[in-house]
Amino acid sequence: MGVVLQMPVVLAALLGGALLTLLLERTLLQRTQTEPGPAAAVDYRHAVDPPNADRWLYPAGPVLALLGVALATVVIPFGPNLIGEDLGIGVFYFIVVVDFVVLGIALGGWGANTPDAVEACYRIVAQLVAYVIPLGLALVGAIMMAESLSTVAIVEAQTGLWYIVLQPIGFVLYLITGLMQAYRAPFLEPFAASIQQGVLHTSGGWQAMAWRMALSGVLFVVAAMGAVLFLGGWQGPLLPGPVWMLLKTYGLMALMLWLGTRVRLRSTAQMLALSWKVLIPVGLVNVLIVGMLILLGVGTA
């Protein structure tokens, strides 16, 4: 019964969050004059019918991607009781459903069967191979200290001190892998201008709209999850919880996007090398450091 009310609120949160994200990203891109990547303009006014497309995979791509971010929005808390549903396995669920966006881009790109879109399919799968493990290792630290996978419990565990203070390595890992997970500069290879923004060029009409929502939404949920895990979520003095949560989410998003524009774009191969030769070893060390901190009695209740 309550579910019927929760569902539109979750979708409204995603819609509002994605629109604000688009606004922020467009403003920033105009100032820095960098490649737009997933934020590039799409063609709503024309449908596209790629001549050799797969009948089912091609339209399934944007729907799956949008579904992934909508499901991810469910576990993002904007206040102690302001959450779609506090699933017990929140963070784990989040990792799984956000990867639906990769699945959507891979299916949509392969299904469109144009050289650029299939190239995007390959690049996005390689990007997944690069980011999932260091991202997961960054999250493990926060889970160890909170002793829970629930997003609400993780925020409540940070009442005294945010995890950005206790786990700076994990936070930096999250900044980098978050940019990879949201396909933003410098990791926008699947949406590079050289392949005409990949799947975006081969989509139009409602599909373009779904891609727009999904690709803005993914940056929104990634930044929101970063605020939950490392910046204490809705907690803060004076202002009400949801305001703090929004401030932290968009502050973190602006920081990530700005940092991303400060370095040159990376190719998929460079990103894989960075991930496996630097980020994963650092992530494993981070897990051990956090473990030692906990054994010394730091950060636990």
Binding site: L71, E85, T114, A117, I133, G136, G204, A210
Partner: protein
């Protein structure tokens, strides 16, 4: 409680797919022609080794989540166990690296 968890996930799936079907049925803008060759024949998966290493590490990460939740209540023993686990995995990545498994193509 548990029914509620499944219900909201299921309902969101239904609504998103429903909205997409509705949009596909109602939204018929003019066509933008796209003249490009088919591409499926031109590609091959060149990163099979990467995929294998990825699978091993992805599973390792999954094992870490239940461990991370109970870590603080078990204490040093859990730390030592995971240290051995991470040491074995690090040996794996060092081996793959040394054998050239982390080179693209």
């Amino acid at each position: 409680m548990i029914v509620n968890s499944y219900a909201i996930v299921g309902l969101i799936c239904l609504v998103i797919v429903g909205l997409a079907l509705l949009a596909a049925a109602l939204w018929h803008p003019g066509l933008r022609p796209l003249q490009v060759p088919a591409a499926w024949n031109n590609y091959r998966f060149g990163y099979a080794v990467y995929a294998l290493i990825f699978l091993a590490f992805d599973m390792e990460m999954i094992f870490m989540y239940p461990w991370a939740v109970v870590f603080a209540s078990i204490g040093f023993e859990a730390f030592a166990d995971m240290f051995v686990f991470i040491a074995i995995l690090s040996a794996g990545i060092a081996y793959a690296w040394g054998m050239g498994g982390l080179e693209w193509e």
